[in-house]
Protein backbone atom coordinates (compact mmCIF):
# COMPACT_ATOMS: atom_id res chain seq x y z
CA UNK A 1 0.00 0.00 0.00
CA UNK A 2 2.91 2.34 0.65
CA UNK A 3 5.08 1.00 -2.17
CA UNK A 4 5.47 2.40 -5.65
CA UNK A 5 2.58 1.32 -7.84
CA UNK A 6 3.65 0.78 -11.43
CA UNK A 7 0.69 -0.60 -13.41
CA UNK A 8 -2.61 1.18 -13.88
CA UNK A 9 -4.71 -1.32 -11.86
CA UNK A 10 -2.14 -1.14 -9.04
CA UNK A 11 -2.31 2.64 -9.09
CA UNK A 12 -6.10 2.67 -8.95
CA UNK A 13 -6.04 0.12 -6.14
CA UNK A 14 -3.58 2.24 -4.19
CA UNK A 15 -5.73 5.33 -4.66
CA UNK A 16 -8.86 3.52 -3.52
CA UNK A 17 -7.15 2.12 -0.44
CA UNK A 18 -5.79 5.58 0.41
CA UNK A 19 -9.28 7.03 0.13
CA UNK A 20 -10.66 4.18 2.24
CA UNK A 21 -8.03 4.78 4.90
CA UNK A 22 -8.90 8.47 4.90
CA UNK A 23 -12.62 7.69 5.15
CA UNK A 24 -11.89 5.43 8.11
CA UNK A 25 -9.98 8.20 9.90
CA UNK A 26 -12.83 10.63 9.26
CA UNK A 27 -15.29 7.99 10.46
CA UNK A 28 -13.43 7.53 13.74
CA UNK A 29 -13.31 11.31 14.32
CA UNK A 30 -17.01 11.70 13.63
CA UNK A 31 -17.86 8.64 15.75
CA UNK A 32 -15.99 10.01 18.77
CA UNK A 33 -17.45 13.48 18.18
CA UNK A 34 -20.92 11.98 18.15
CA UNK A 35 -20.45 10.63 21.70
CA UNK A 36 -19.98 14.09 23.15
CA UNK A 37 -22.94 16.38 23.70
CA UNK A 38 -23.74 19.62 25.46
CA UNK A 39 -21.65 22.73 25.96
CA UNK A 40 -18.76 20.94 27.71
CA UNK A 41 -18.41 18.48 24.89
CA UNK A 42 -18.01 21.41 22.50
CA UNK A 43 -14.34 21.85 23.32
CA UNK A 44 -13.47 18.23 22.84
CA UNK A 45 -15.31 18.06 19.54
CA UNK A 46 -13.72 21.30 18.28
CA UNK A 47 -10.20 20.11 19.02
CA UNK A 48 -11.02 16.75 17.49
CA UNK A 49 -12.19 18.42 14.28
CA UNK A 50 -9.03 20.51 14.18
CA UNK A 51 -6.63 17.70 15.06
CA UNK A 52 -5.87 16.36 11.55
CA UNK A 53 -5.56 19.86 10.11
CA UNK A 54 -3.19 21.06 12.83
CA UNK A 55 -1.11 17.91 12.51
CA UNK A 56 -0.70 18.29 8.74
CA UNK A 57 -0.01 22.01 8.91
CA UNK A 58 2.59 21.65 11.65
CA UNK A 59 4.47 18.82 9.98
CA UNK A 60 3.93 19.96 6.39
CA UNK A 61 4.17 23.76 6.55
CA UNK A 62 5.34 25.23 9.85
CA UNK A 63 8.24 22.90 10.61
CA UNK A 64 9.57 22.81 7.01
CA UNK A 65 9.30 26.60 6.76
CA UNK A 66 11.31 27.16 9.92
CA UNK A 67 13.79 24.48 8.93
CA UNK A 68 14.43 26.13 5.54
CA UNK A 69 15.04 29.51 7.16
CA UNK A 70 17.52 27.80 9.50
CA UNK A 71 19.21 26.01 6.57
CA UNK A 72 19.67 29.28 4.72
CA UNK A 73 22.47 30.16 7.17
CA UNK A 74 24.49 27.06 6.23
CA UNK A 75 26.88 26.27 3.37
CA UNK A 76 26.25 24.33 0.15
CA UNK A 77 26.37 20.92 1.81
CA UNK A 78 24.35 22.10 4.81
CA UNK A 79 27.13 21.37 7.33
CA UNK A 80 28.93 24.58 8.26
CA UNK A 81 27.26 27.69 9.66
CA UNK A 82 28.15 30.67 7.47
CA UNK A 83 25.85 33.41 8.77
CA UNK A 84 24.40 35.72 6.14
CA UNK A 85 26.89 34.69 3.41
CA UNK A 86 24.22 33.12 1.20
CA UNK A 87 22.24 36.35 1.31
CA UNK A 88 25.47 38.21 0.53
CA UNK A 89 25.87 36.03 -2.56
CA UNK A 90 22.33 36.78 -3.72
CA UNK A 91 22.95 40.51 -3.54
CA UNK A 92 26.50 40.59 -4.98
CA UNK A 93 27.08 37.71 -7.40
CA UNK A 94 26.56 39.00 -10.99
CA UNK A 95 24.41 36.00 -11.98
CA UNK A 96 22.25 36.38 -8.89
CA UNK A 97 21.87 40.10 -9.53
CA UNK A 98 20.52 39.31 -12.99
CA UNK A 99 18.04 36.96 -11.30
CA UNK A 100 16.97 39.76 -8.96
CA UNK A 101 16.70 42.26 -11.81
CA UNK A 102 14.50 39.87 -13.80
CA UNK A 103 12.30 39.22 -10.77
CA UNK A 104 11.77 42.97 -10.38
CA UNK A 105 10.74 43.22 -14.06
CA UNK A 106 8.28 40.37 -13.57
CA UNK A 107 6.74 41.65 -10.36
CA UNK A 108 6.40 45.24 -11.54
CA UNK A 109 5.16 44.63 -15.09
CA UNK A 110 2.86 41.63 -14.79
CA UNK A 111 0.36 42.92 -12.19
CA UNK A 112 -0.03 46.38 -13.70
CA UNK A 113 -0.31 45.36 -17.34
CA UNK A 114 -2.56 42.37 -16.62
CA UNK A 115 -4.83 44.45 -14.38
CA UNK A 116 -5.01 47.31 -16.89
CA UNK A 117 -5.95 44.95 -19.73
CA UNK A 118 -8.43 43.12 -17.50
CA UNK A 119 -10.07 46.38 -16.43
CA UNK A 120 -10.33 47.81 -19.94
CA UNK A 121 -11.72 44.56 -21.30
CA UNK A 122 -14.24 44.26 -18.45
CA UNK A 123 -15.51 47.79 -19.18
CA UNK A 124 -15.61 47.23 -22.94
CA UNK A 125 -17.71 44.10 -22.79
CA UNK A 126 -19.86 45.10 -19.81
CA UNK A 127 -23.56 44.56 -20.65
CA UNK A 128 -22.78 43.66 -24.26
CA UNK A 129 -24.67 40.90 -25.98
CA UNK A 130 -21.76 38.46 -26.08
CA UNK A 131 -20.50 39.23 -22.59
CA UNK A 132 -20.24 35.70 -21.23
CA UNK A 133 -18.65 34.32 -24.39
CA UNK A 134 -16.18 37.21 -24.53
CA UNK A 135 -15.27 36.60 -20.91
CA UNK A 136 -14.68 32.89 -21.46
CA UNK A 137 -12.21 33.61 -24.27
CA UNK A 138 -10.00 35.78 -22.06
CA UNK A 139 -10.50 33.64 -18.99
CA UNK A 140 -9.65 30.31 -20.62
CA UNK A 141 -5.85 30.65 -20.24
CA UNK A 142 -6.43 30.60 -16.45
CA UNK A 143 -7.39 26.93 -16.65
CA UNK A 144 -4.32 25.97 -18.68
CA UNK A 145 -1.16 24.92 -16.85
CA UNK A 146 1.86 27.23 -16.97
CA UNK A 147 3.70 24.39 -18.68
CA UNK A 148 1.16 24.16 -21.52
CA UNK A 149 1.06 27.96 -21.74
CA UNK A 150 4.84 27.88 -22.03
CA UNK A 151 4.63 25.40 -24.91
CA UNK A 152 1.91 27.46 -26.65
CA UNK A 153 4.01 30.62 -26.51
CA UNK A 154 7.30 28.94 -27.34
CA UNK A 155 5.63 28.01 -30.60
CA UNK A 156 4.60 31.67 -31.11
CA UNK A 157 8.23 32.74 -30.59
CA UNK A 158 9.80 29.95 -32.67
CA UNK A 159 12.71 31.10 -34.82
CA UNK A 160 13.98 29.86 -38.16
CA UNK A 161 17.25 31.21 -39.59
CA UNK A 162 16.99 33.82 -42.31
CA UNK A 163 18.04 31.71 -45.34
CA UNK A 164 16.64 31.41 -48.85
CA UNK A 165 13.75 28.97 -48.68
CA UNK A 166 13.35 28.63 -44.92
CA UNK A 167 9.92 29.77 -43.81
CA UNK A 168 9.14 31.01 -40.32
CA UNK A 169 6.79 28.77 -38.34
CA UNK A 170 6.39 31.10 -35.34
CA UNK A 171 3.76 33.80 -35.80
CA UNK A 172 5.76 36.63 -34.21
CA UNK A 173 8.80 36.14 -36.47
CA UNK A 174 6.52 35.75 -39.48
CA UNK A 175 4.94 39.11 -38.63
CA UNK A 176 8.42 40.64 -38.36
CA UNK A 177 9.28 39.21 -41.79
CA UNK A 178 5.99 40.39 -43.33
CA UNK A 179 6.77 43.90 -42.14
CA UNK A 180 10.15 43.71 -43.82
CA UNK A 181 12.33 42.86 -40.80
CA UNK A 182 14.76 40.05 -40.18
CA UNK A 183 13.77 37.13 -37.92
CA UNK A 184 15.00 37.43 -34.33
CA UNK A 185 16.05 34.67 -31.89
CA UNK A 186 13.32 35.89 -29.57
CA UNK A 187 14.03 33.60 -26.62
CA UNK A 188 17.80 34.06 -26.74
CA UNK A 189 18.20 37.85 -27.10
CA UNK A 190 18.49 39.31 -23.60
CA UNK A 191 16.78 41.27 -22.04
CA UNK A 192 14.07 40.97 -24.75
CA UNK A 193 13.53 37.31 -23.82
CA UNK A 194 12.56 38.13 -20.23
CA UNK A 195 9.89 40.54 -21.42
CA UNK A 196 8.56 37.94 -23.84
CA UNK A 197 8.23 35.46 -20.96
CA UNK A 198 6.42 38.12 -18.95
CA UNK A 199 3.91 38.40 -21.82
CA UNK A 200 2.93 34.77 -21.14
CA UNK A 201 2.18 35.51 -17.50
CA UNK A 202 0.15 38.60 -18.48
CA UNK A 203 -1.75 36.45 -20.98
CA UNK A 204 -2.70 34.09 -18.15
CA UNK A 205 -3.44 36.64 -15.43
CA UNK A 206 -5.49 39.17 -17.42
CA UNK A 207 -8.46 36.80 -17.27
CA UNK A 208 -8.26 36.66 -13.49
CA UNK A 209 -8.13 40.47 -13.27
CA UNK A 210 -11.01 40.77 -15.74
CA UNK A 211 -13.28 38.39 -13.81
CA UNK A 212 -12.79 40.01 -10.42
CA UNK A 213 -13.00 43.57 -11.77
CA UNK A 214 -16.06 42.77 -13.85
CA UNK A 215 -17.86 41.69 -10.68
CA UNK A 216 -16.77 44.91 -8.97
CA UNK A 217 -18.02 47.01 -11.91
CA UNK A 218 -21.39 45.28 -11.79
CA UNK A 219 -21.62 46.10 -8.09
CA UNK A 220 -21.56 49.87 -8.78
CA UNK A 221 -25.12 51.07 -8.03
CA UNK A 222 -27.14 51.72 -11.18
CA UNK A 223 -28.47 55.09 -9.96
CA UNK A 224 -24.96 56.58 -9.77
CA UNK A 225 -24.29 55.58 -13.37
CA UNK A 226 -27.72 56.78 -14.47
CA UNK A 227 -27.23 60.15 -12.74
CA UNK A 228 -23.88 60.63 -14.45
CA UNK A 229 -25.44 59.72 -17.79
CA UNK A 230 -28.17 62.32 -17.28
CA UNK A 231 -25.48 64.90 -16.63
CA UNK A 232 -24.11 64.09 -20.08
CA UNK A 233 -20.77 62.81 -18.79
CA UNK A 234 -18.54 61.35 -21.51
CA UNK A 235 -16.99 57.89 -21.43
CA UNK A 236 -13.58 59.03 -20.17
CA UNK A 237 -14.98 61.14 -17.29
CA UNK A 238 -17.29 58.28 -16.41
CA UNK A 239 -14.24 56.01 -16.14
CA UNK A 240 -12.11 58.54 -14.22
CA UNK A 241 -14.74 59.81 -11.80
CA UNK A 242 -17.07 56.88 -11.26
CA UNK A 243 -15.77 53.49 -12.39
CA UNK A 244 -12.19 53.80 -11.19
CA UNK A 245 -12.91 55.17 -7.68
CA UNK A 246 -15.62 52.54 -7.17
CA UNK A 247 -13.43 49.59 -8.07
CA UNK A 248 -10.20 50.94 -6.55
CA UNK A 249 -10.15 48.62 -3.48
CA UNK A 250 -10.67 45.65 -5.78
CA UNK A 251 -7.88 46.86 -8.07
CA UNK A 252 -5.50 46.80 -5.11
CA UNK A 253 -6.50 43.24 -4.24
CA UNK A 254 -6.08 42.12 -7.86
CA UNK A 255 -2.68 43.81 -8.18
CA UNK A 256 -1.32 42.24 -5.02
CA UNK A 257 -2.76 38.79 -5.75
CA UNK A 258 -1.17 38.75 -9.20
CA UNK A 259 2.02 40.20 -7.72
CA UNK A 260 2.34 37.36 -5.22
CA UNK A 261 1.61 34.77 -7.91
CA UNK A 262 4.21 36.33 -10.21
CA UNK A 263 6.87 36.34 -7.52
CA UNK A 264 6.64 32.57 -7.33
CA UNK A 265 6.57 31.98 -11.10
CA UNK A 266 8.71 29.03 -12.04
CA UNK A 267 7.03 26.78 -14.59
CA UNK A 268 7.00 29.33 -17.42
CA UNK A 269 10.70 30.10 -17.16
CA UNK A 270 11.64 26.46 -16.80
CA UNK A 271 9.53 25.30 -19.75
CA UNK A 272 10.49 28.08 -22.16
CA UNK A 273 14.18 28.80 -21.55
CA UNK A 274 15.17 26.65 -18.58
CA UNK A 275 16.40 29.87 -16.98
CA UNK A 276 19.18 30.17 -19.58
CA UNK A 277 20.08 33.29 -21.58
CA UNK A 278 19.69 35.53 -18.53
CA UNK A 279 16.02 34.75 -17.95
CA UNK A 280 16.16 33.12 -14.52
CA UNK A 281 14.00 34.44 -11.66
CA UNK A 282 14.18 33.79 -7.91
CA UNK A 283 11.76 30.85 -7.89
CA UNK A 284 13.58 29.18 -10.79
CA UNK A 285 16.99 29.89 -9.27
CA UNK A 286 15.82 28.26 -6.04
CA UNK A 287 15.13 25.05 -7.93
CA UNK A 288 18.36 25.21 -9.93
CA UNK A 289 20.59 25.86 -6.92
CA UNK A 290 18.93 23.18 -4.79
CA UNK A 291 18.66 20.36 -7.31
CA UNK A 292 21.05 21.06 -10.17
CA UNK A 293 23.89 23.02 -8.53
CA UNK A 294 23.64 21.09 -5.24
CA UNK A 295 23.87 24.29 -3.24
CA UNK A 296 21.29 23.61 -0.50
CA UNK A 297 22.24 26.69 1.51
CA UNK A 298 21.83 29.14 -1.35
CA UNK A 299 18.62 27.42 -2.41
CA UNK A 300 17.21 27.79 1.10
CA UNK A 301 18.24 31.46 1.16
CA UNK A 302 16.45 32.07 -2.15
CA UNK A 303 13.29 30.36 -0.84
CA UNK A 304 13.48 32.44 2.32
CA UNK A 305 13.90 35.57 0.19
CA UNK A 306 10.65 34.71 -1.62
CA UNK A 307 8.94 34.42 1.75
CA UNK A 308 10.32 37.77 2.91
CA UNK A 309 9.30 39.50 -0.33
CA UNK A 310 5.71 38.28 -0.03
CA UNK A 311 5.23 39.73 3.44
CA UNK A 312 5.13 43.47 2.56
CA UNK A 313 2.70 42.83 -0.30
CA UNK A 314 0.35 40.91 1.98
CA UNK A 315 0.73 43.50 4.72
CA UNK A 316 -0.18 46.29 2.29
CA UNK A 317 -3.13 44.26 1.07
CA UNK A 318 -4.53 43.71 4.56
CA UNK A 319 -3.99 47.36 5.49
CA UNK A 320 -5.83 48.71 2.46
CA UNK A 321 -8.66 46.25 3.06
CA UNK A 322 -9.01 47.51 6.63
CA UNK A 323 -9.06 51.09 5.36
CA UNK A 324 -11.74 50.40 2.80
CA UNK A 325 -13.83 48.62 5.42
CA UNK A 326 -13.46 51.52 7.85
CA UNK A 327 -14.50 54.18 5.36
Amino acid sequence: MFNTASTTPEKILQMLSALLLFAAVMGIILFIAGRFGGKKGDRVVAYLYLLPVLLLLTVGLVYPGLRTIYQSFFDAAGDAFIGFDNYGTIFSDPDQLTVLRNTVFWVVLTPFVATAIGLVYAILIDKSRFESFAKTLIFLPMSISFVAAGVIWKFMYEYRPDQGNVKQIGLINQLIVWFGGKPVQLLIESPLNSFLLIVVMIWIQAGFAMTILSAAIKAIPDDIIEAARLDGVNAWTMFRRITLPSVQPTVVVVLTTIGIGTLKVFDIVRTMTGGNFNTSVVANEFYRQTFNADNQGLGAALATLLFVLVIPIVWYNIRSLRQSEAS
Partner: protein
Protein backbone atom coordinates in the same frame (compact mmCIF):
# COMPACT_ATOMS: atom_id res chain seq x y z
CA UNK B 1 -55.27 72.90 -31.16
CA UNK B 2 -51.86 73.36 -32.66
CA UNK B 3 -50.66 74.91 -29.40
CA UNK B 4 -52.03 72.01 -27.41
CA UNK B 5 -50.22 69.27 -29.27
CA UNK B 6 -46.72 70.17 -28.07
CA UNK B 7 -48.04 70.20 -24.48
CA UNK B 8 -49.32 66.65 -24.74
CA UNK B 9 -46.12 65.47 -26.34
CA UNK B 10 -43.94 67.07 -23.69
CA UNK B 11 -43.83 64.16 -21.22
CA UNK B 12 -42.66 61.63 -23.82
CA UNK B 13 -40.11 64.17 -25.06
CA UNK B 14 -38.56 64.47 -21.60
CA UNK B 15 -38.46 60.73 -21.17
CA UNK B 16 -36.99 60.45 -24.61
CA UNK B 17 -34.13 62.85 -24.08
CA UNK B 18 -31.75 60.65 -22.02
CA UNK B 19 -32.46 57.59 -24.10
CA UNK B 20 -31.83 59.58 -27.28
CA UNK B 21 -28.51 60.80 -25.94
CA UNK B 22 -27.72 57.29 -24.80
CA UNK B 23 -28.28 56.06 -28.32
CA UNK B 24 -26.11 58.84 -29.70
CA UNK B 25 -23.37 57.99 -27.21
CA UNK B 26 -23.60 54.34 -28.08
CA UNK B 27 -23.23 55.20 -31.74
CA UNK B 28 -20.14 57.21 -30.98
CA UNK B 29 -18.30 54.90 -28.64
CA UNK B 30 -19.67 51.47 -29.38
CA UNK B 31 -17.97 50.61 -32.69
CA UNK B 32 -14.54 51.48 -31.31
CA UNK B 33 -15.25 49.71 -28.04
CA UNK B 34 -16.43 46.62 -29.89
CA UNK B 35 -13.44 46.73 -32.19
CA UNK B 36 -11.02 47.00 -29.25
CA UNK B 37 -12.77 44.13 -27.47
CA UNK B 38 -12.62 41.97 -30.59
CA UNK B 39 -8.93 42.75 -31.13
CA UNK B 40 -8.14 41.75 -27.53
CA UNK B 41 -10.22 38.59 -27.75
CA UNK B 42 -8.47 37.57 -30.99
CA UNK B 43 -5.02 38.30 -29.54
CA UNK B 44 -5.85 36.16 -26.53
CA UNK B 45 -7.17 33.23 -28.55
CA UNK B 46 -4.67 33.16 -31.41
CA UNK B 47 -1.70 31.52 -29.62
CA UNK B 48 -3.77 28.55 -28.44
CA UNK B 49 -5.56 28.32 -31.76
CA UNK B 50 -2.27 28.20 -33.67
CA UNK B 51 -0.98 25.29 -31.63
CA UNK B 52 -4.34 23.50 -31.86
CA UNK B 53 -4.30 23.73 -35.67
CA UNK B 54 -0.69 22.55 -35.70
CA UNK B 55 -1.46 19.50 -33.61
CA UNK B 56 -3.58 18.17 -36.49
CA UNK B 57 -1.05 18.92 -39.26
CA UNK B 58 1.48 16.40 -40.59
CA UNK B 59 4.96 16.61 -39.04
CA UNK B 60 6.61 17.82 -42.25
CA UNK B 61 4.06 20.58 -42.70
CA UNK B 62 4.45 21.82 -39.11
CA UNK B 63 8.21 22.01 -39.45
CA UNK B 64 8.43 23.70 -42.84
CA UNK B 65 5.45 26.07 -42.98
CA UNK B 66 3.54 28.29 -40.56
CA UNK B 67 0.21 27.05 -39.18
CA UNK B 68 -1.60 29.85 -41.00
CA UNK B 69 -0.74 28.22 -44.33
CA UNK B 70 -3.10 25.43 -43.24
CA UNK B 71 -5.97 27.55 -44.57
CA UNK B 72 -4.59 27.66 -48.10
CA UNK B 73 -3.43 24.03 -48.04
CA UNK B 74 -5.48 22.07 -45.50
CA UNK B 75 -4.19 18.61 -44.63
CA UNK B 76 -5.38 16.89 -41.48
CA UNK B 77 -3.93 13.96 -39.59
CA UNK B 78 -4.26 12.27 -36.21
CA UNK B 79 -0.69 10.94 -36.38
CA UNK B 80 0.57 13.41 -33.78
CA UNK B 81 -1.97 12.21 -31.24
CA UNK B 82 -1.11 8.59 -32.06
CA UNK B 83 2.51 9.58 -31.59
CA UNK B 84 2.08 10.91 -28.05
CA UNK B 85 -0.07 7.99 -26.94
CA UNK B 86 1.91 5.25 -28.68
CA UNK B 87 4.35 3.10 -26.74
CA UNK B 88 7.08 3.28 -29.40
CA UNK B 89 7.37 7.08 -29.52
CA UNK B 90 8.80 7.10 -26.01
CA UNK B 91 6.28 9.75 -24.94
CA UNK B 92 3.62 7.43 -23.57
CA UNK B 93 1.29 10.20 -22.42
CA UNK B 94 -1.55 7.83 -21.54
CA UNK B 95 0.23 6.54 -18.48
CA UNK B 96 1.08 10.09 -17.30
CA UNK B 97 -2.52 11.07 -17.89
CA UNK B 98 -3.60 8.27 -15.54
CA UNK B 99 -1.03 9.46 -13.00
CA UNK B 100 -2.47 12.97 -13.09
CA UNK B 101 -5.95 11.62 -12.35
CA UNK B 102 -4.64 9.37 -9.55
CA UNK B 103 -2.83 12.35 -8.01
CA UNK B 104 -5.77 14.74 -8.35
CA UNK B 105 -8.69 12.80 -6.90
CA UNK B 106 -7.39 12.27 -3.33
CA UNK B 107 -5.62 15.65 -3.40
CA UNK B 108 -9.03 17.28 -3.85
CA UNK B 109 -11.20 15.07 -1.62
CA UNK B 110 -8.89 14.97 1.43
CA UNK B 111 -8.30 18.71 1.95
CA UNK B 112 -11.93 19.60 1.19
CA UNK B 113 -13.22 17.19 3.83
CA UNK B 114 -10.64 18.13 6.45
CA UNK B 115 -11.13 21.84 5.83
CA UNK B 116 -14.91 21.49 6.10
CA UNK B 117 -14.54 19.99 9.59
CA UNK B 118 -12.05 22.64 10.69
CA UNK B 119 -14.10 25.47 9.22
CA UNK B 120 -17.15 24.17 11.08
CA UNK B 121 -15.23 24.25 14.35
CA UNK B 122 -14.05 27.81 13.70
CA UNK B 123 -17.43 29.06 12.55
CA UNK B 124 -19.84 27.46 15.00
CA UNK B 125 -18.00 26.32 18.14
CA UNK B 126 -16.35 28.01 21.08
CA UNK B 127 -13.04 26.81 22.45
CA UNK B 128 -9.95 28.38 24.03
CA UNK B 129 -7.37 29.62 21.52
CA UNK B 130 -9.89 29.81 18.68
CA UNK B 131 -9.02 33.29 17.43
CA UNK B 132 -5.26 32.86 17.57
CA UNK B 133 -5.42 29.48 15.81
CA UNK B 134 -7.60 30.92 13.06
CA UNK B 135 -5.23 33.85 12.61
CA UNK B 136 -2.23 31.51 12.35
CA UNK B 137 -3.95 29.35 9.72
CA UNK B 138 -5.01 32.46 7.81
CA UNK B 139 -1.41 33.73 7.89
CA UNK B 140 -0.05 30.38 6.64
CA UNK B 141 -1.64 31.17 3.26
CA UNK B 142 1.33 33.36 2.42
CA UNK B 143 4.01 30.72 2.97
CA UNK B 144 5.53 30.03 -0.47
CA UNK B 145 5.72 26.32 -1.32
CA UNK B 146 9.43 26.68 -2.07
CA UNK B 147 10.14 27.18 1.62
CA UNK B 148 8.65 23.82 2.57
CA UNK B 149 9.87 21.50 -0.17
CA UNK B 150 13.32 20.36 0.94
CA UNK B 151 12.55 19.60 4.61
CA UNK B 152 9.37 17.86 3.47
CA UNK B 153 11.38 15.79 1.02
CA UNK B 154 13.74 14.82 3.89
CA UNK B 155 10.74 13.69 5.95
CA UNK B 156 9.44 11.60 3.04
CA UNK B 157 12.88 10.02 2.62
CA UNK B 158 13.01 9.16 6.34
CA UNK B 159 9.62 7.45 6.35
CA UNK B 160 10.39 5.81 2.99
CA UNK B 161 7.53 7.28 1.02
CA UNK B 162 9.60 8.70 -1.84
CA UNK B 163 8.56 7.67 -5.31
CA UNK B 164 4.97 6.95 -4.26
CA UNK B 165 1.75 8.86 -4.77
CA UNK B 166 1.59 9.42 -1.02
CA UNK B 167 4.15 12.24 -1.19
CA UNK B 168 1.98 14.13 -3.66
CA UNK B 169 -1.33 13.38 -1.90
CA UNK B 170 -0.01 14.48 1.47
CA UNK B 171 1.79 17.60 0.28
CA UNK B 172 -0.98 18.86 -2.01
CA UNK B 173 -3.54 18.26 0.76
CA UNK B 174 -1.46 20.15 3.30
CA UNK B 175 -0.73 23.10 1.03
CA UNK B 176 -4.42 23.49 0.24
CA UNK B 177 -5.64 23.62 3.83
CA UNK B 178 -5.11 27.30 4.81
CA UNK B 179 -7.02 28.70 1.82
CA UNK B 180 -9.68 25.97 2.02
CA UNK B 181 -10.37 26.57 5.70
CA UNK B 182 -10.51 30.32 5.18
CA UNK B 183 -12.90 30.12 2.21
CA UNK B 184 -15.22 27.53 3.77
CA UNK B 185 -15.25 29.45 7.05
CA UNK B 186 -16.44 32.54 5.16
CA UNK B 187 -19.22 30.58 3.50
CA UNK B 188 -20.25 28.94 6.79
CA UNK B 189 -20.51 32.27 8.59
CA UNK B 190 -23.07 33.35 6.00
CA UNK B 191 -25.48 30.61 7.01
CA UNK B 192 -28.04 32.10 9.44
CA UNK B 193 -27.18 31.06 13.00
CA UNK B 194 -30.90 30.51 13.67
CA UNK B 195 -30.73 27.35 11.59
CA UNK B 196 -27.95 25.91 13.75
CA UNK B 197 -29.59 27.04 17.00
CA UNK B 198 -32.90 25.48 16.00
CA UNK B 199 -31.19 22.18 15.22
CA UNK B 200 -29.38 22.28 18.56
CA UNK B 201 -32.61 22.93 20.43
CA UNK B 202 -34.05 19.89 18.68
CA UNK B 203 -31.21 17.92 20.26
CA UNK B 204 -29.04 17.45 17.21
CA UNK B 205 -25.32 16.87 17.87
CA UNK B 206 -22.45 18.41 15.96
CA UNK B 207 -22.20 15.49 13.61
CA UNK B 208 -25.83 15.55 12.52
CA UNK B 209 -25.88 19.36 12.31
CA UNK B 210 -22.87 19.17 10.02
CA UNK B 211 -24.34 16.55 7.72
CA UNK B 212 -28.03 17.41 7.78
CA UNK B 213 -28.07 21.20 8.08
CA UNK B 214 -24.78 22.55 6.76
CA UNK B 215 -23.63 20.14 4.07
CA UNK B 216 -26.58 20.70 1.69
CA UNK B 217 -26.13 24.48 1.99
CA UNK B 218 -22.38 24.23 1.52
CA UNK B 219 -22.39 22.22 -1.71
CA UNK B 220 -21.71 25.25 -3.97
CA UNK B 221 -18.83 26.36 -1.73
CA UNK B 222 -17.34 22.87 -1.65
CA UNK B 223 -17.69 22.66 -5.43
CA UNK B 224 -16.03 26.05 -5.85
CA UNK B 225 -13.04 25.07 -3.78
CA UNK B 226 -12.92 21.57 -5.27
CA UNK B 227 -12.58 22.93 -8.82
CA UNK B 228 -10.00 25.44 -7.67
CA UNK B 229 -7.91 22.72 -6.07
CA UNK B 230 -8.38 20.33 -8.99
CA UNK B 231 -7.04 22.87 -11.49
CA UNK B 232 -4.17 23.73 -9.16
CA UNK B 233 -3.09 20.12 -8.65
CA UNK B 234 -3.57 19.10 -12.28
CA UNK B 235 -1.54 22.09 -13.50
CA UNK B 236 1.19 21.88 -10.86
CA UNK B 237 4.77 21.32 -11.93
CA UNK B 238 6.96 22.30 -8.97
CA UNK B 239 5.61 19.87 -6.36
CA UNK B 240 5.63 17.06 -8.89
CA UNK B 241 9.21 17.79 -9.93
CA UNK B 242 10.47 17.71 -6.35
CA UNK B 243 8.59 14.65 -5.10
CA UNK B 244 8.05 12.60 -8.24
CA UNK B 245 10.90 13.83 -10.38
CA UNK B 246 12.78 10.55 -10.21
CA UNK B 247 10.41 7.99 -11.65
CA UNK B 248 7.86 7.84 -14.43
CA UNK B 249 5.58 5.73 -12.23
CA UNK B 250 4.09 8.68 -10.37
CA UNK B 251 4.93 11.71 -12.55
CA UNK B 252 1.93 13.73 -13.78
CA UNK B 253 1.33 14.83 -17.36
CA UNK B 254 2.66 18.37 -16.79
CA UNK B 255 6.02 16.90 -15.83
CA UNK B 256 6.25 14.80 -18.99
CA UNK B 257 5.25 17.79 -21.12
CA UNK B 258 7.90 19.96 -19.45
CA UNK B 259 10.52 17.24 -20.01
CA UNK B 260 9.48 16.94 -23.64
CA UNK B 261 9.80 20.69 -24.06
CA UNK B 262 13.28 20.55 -22.52
CA UNK B 263 14.71 17.55 -24.32
CA UNK B 264 12.85 17.59 -27.63
CA UNK B 265 12.09 21.29 -27.92
CA UNK B 266 11.76 21.20 -31.71
CA UNK B 267 9.51 18.12 -31.94
CA UNK B 268 6.46 20.32 -32.45
CA UNK B 269 4.32 17.43 -33.70
CA UNK B 270 4.65 15.83 -30.23
CA UNK B 271 4.63 19.06 -28.21
CA UNK B 272 1.47 20.44 -29.85
CA UNK B 273 -0.52 17.23 -29.42
CA UNK B 274 0.91 16.68 -25.93
CA UNK B 275 -0.05 20.18 -24.81
CA UNK B 276 -3.64 19.64 -25.91
CA UNK B 277 -3.92 16.26 -24.25
CA UNK B 278 -2.71 17.89 -21.03
CA UNK B 279 -5.16 20.80 -21.16
CA UNK B 280 -8.26 18.93 -22.27
CA UNK B 281 -9.28 17.89 -18.75
CA UNK B 282 -8.82 21.23 -16.96
CA UNK B 283 -10.45 23.15 -19.83
CA UNK B 284 -13.46 20.80 -19.82
CA UNK B 285 -13.84 21.00 -16.05
CA UNK B 286 -13.50 24.75 -16.25
CA UNK B 287 -16.04 25.23 -19.04
CA UNK B 288 -18.62 23.00 -17.38
CA UNK B 289 -18.23 24.44 -13.90
CA UNK B 290 -17.14 28.01 -14.66
CA UNK B 291 -19.96 29.40 -12.49
CA UNK B 292 -18.64 27.73 -9.33
CA UNK B 293 -15.05 28.56 -10.16
CA UNK B 294 -15.81 32.27 -10.53
CA UNK B 295 -17.72 32.22 -7.27
CA UNK B 296 -14.72 30.70 -5.50
CA UNK B 297 -12.40 33.31 -7.00
CA UNK B 298 -14.66 36.13 -5.91
CA UNK B 299 -15.01 34.79 -2.38
CA UNK B 300 -11.24 34.48 -2.15
CA UNK B 301 -10.15 37.88 -3.27
CA UNK B 302 -12.96 40.40 -3.14
CA UNK B 303 -14.03 39.73 0.42
CA UNK B 304 -10.37 39.42 1.40
Amino acid sequence: MTAATPVTTTPPLVADKPSASKIAKKRLSSPWASLAAIVLAVLWTLPTFGLLVSSFRPERAIKTTGWWSFFSNPTLTLDNYRGVFGEDGGVNLASFFVNSLIICIPSVLIPVSLAALAAYAFAWMNFPGKNILFLVIFALQIVPLQVTLIPLLEIFVNIQLTGTFWTLWLSHSTFALPLAIYLLHNFMREIPSGLIEAARVDGAGHVSIFFKVLLPLLTPALAAFGIFQFLWVWNDLLVALVFAGGGDEVAPITLQLANLSGTRGTAWQLLSAGAFVSIIVPVTVFLLLQRYFVRGLLAGSVKG
